[in-house]
Symmetry: C2
Subunit: 212 residues, 2 copies
């Protein structure tokens, strides 16, 4: 396993900061302090400074950060100074919902195809994205230079789809299937477990309320 | 804003530990060390001990933790020693996908209804869950003692739906709409932004690979 020097939670916060900076920029704000960012997104100022410090010195002491520069810099750190072509495998409810999800495009993710084996779905368009047969996976990945694939198929097909994505040349997989997948070490894999979000709510409803 | 003494990342890890302990239990493992848990889930042993220490002393020094006891204890901390009735608002692709999502039921979340305004959807069943009209929201929340509502409607209806959920008596909201919602301070709100998951992948594909 490789050493992860920057905690994933810090990357998630960078993502939140970048959205806040983008809002400030749209409102015409030119400079911002770490205290402003902290207040705007609900973390401590020390946390903001620590997260930004992982990636070098940005601000001017006593003046703060230039909003546009900091936003651009964070987007670059996140790899979002670039339009990423993405494919989805599985044109069921989840795959369709992800294909329609406006949040992806806003952040520079461009869904270039959705793949399924159902002949009734193939050739249709979802949100202007074509549904392709699985047999065209490799061809589309190569033509569109796709590095990221999203798995939105049932659990018992997820490993098979993951293998096909890796063979086709995908370098990062976002897996929505509730299934542990094996991928080669050089492929980035992230599992999305939607129930964790509900568990944070039930923790807050039960434990936190009882003990604080 | 209330002070959160236990970081959210620790709650997410507890959720991961509990899944791992449940696997061990099914395999008949009786005791486990913090090192075993750490290795099993891919965090440091010190992190495991720190996370568990938030909630008191569990293990026996030199012996480790009893798998069943620790699992039961963590589930209780997470509020999962209990079946939570949950409703979904929005029977579009996302709402339908969430309604079908097996991961919720496995963790004790029981979808008791899905609400929509489309007359063509009302009365149908999705995964044995009835689609109700919005007019029956308050009645179902009261009858089923629902504390948690999931918003899966387009962004421009999300605040209206959130207000209706709060009025109906829901205490926690999981919001999938890409929209900042206002809720009373006593209501727990969690926004799910699916693109953050892709951003962690692009960070790993671009920054991490370049600099480590």
């Amino acid at each position: 396993m490789k050493t992860l020097k920057i905690p994933e939670a810090a990357i998630m916060r960078l993502s939140v900061y970048s959205r806040y900076l983008s809002q400030l920029d749209r409102r015409g704000v030119v400079t911002v302090s770490s205290n402003d960012i902290a207040e705007g997104v609900g973390v401590s100022p020390a946390q903001v400074r620590k997260d930004l410090a992982y990636f070098g010195e940005f601000g001017t002491r006593g003046v703060g950060y230039n909003v546009k520069d900091l936003h651009r810099h964070i987007m670059k750190i996140l790899g979002l100074n670039y339009q990423w072509p993405v494919i989805i495998v599985g044109a069921g409810n989840l795959g369709t919902a992800l294909c329609m999800y406006a949040g992806f495009r806003e952040r520079g993710f461009n869904i270039v195809g959705i793949f399924d084996n159902d002949p009734n779905k193939i050739g249709h368009r979802l949100n202007n994205v074509e549904v392709y047969p699985m047999s065209r996976l490799k061809e589309v990945v190569e033509e569109e230079d796709v590095k990221i694939g999203i798995i939105a198929v049932p659990a018992d097909h997820a490993q098979e789809v993951s293998n096909l994505l890796v063979e086709a040349g995908v370098k990062a997989i976002l897996n929505f299937a509730p299934k542990v997948l094996n991928v080669p070490a050089e492929v980035e894999l992230r599992n999305v477990d939607l129930s964790v979000n509900l568990e944070i709510l039930t923790f807050n409803l039960s434990y936190r309320r009882k003990y604080y």
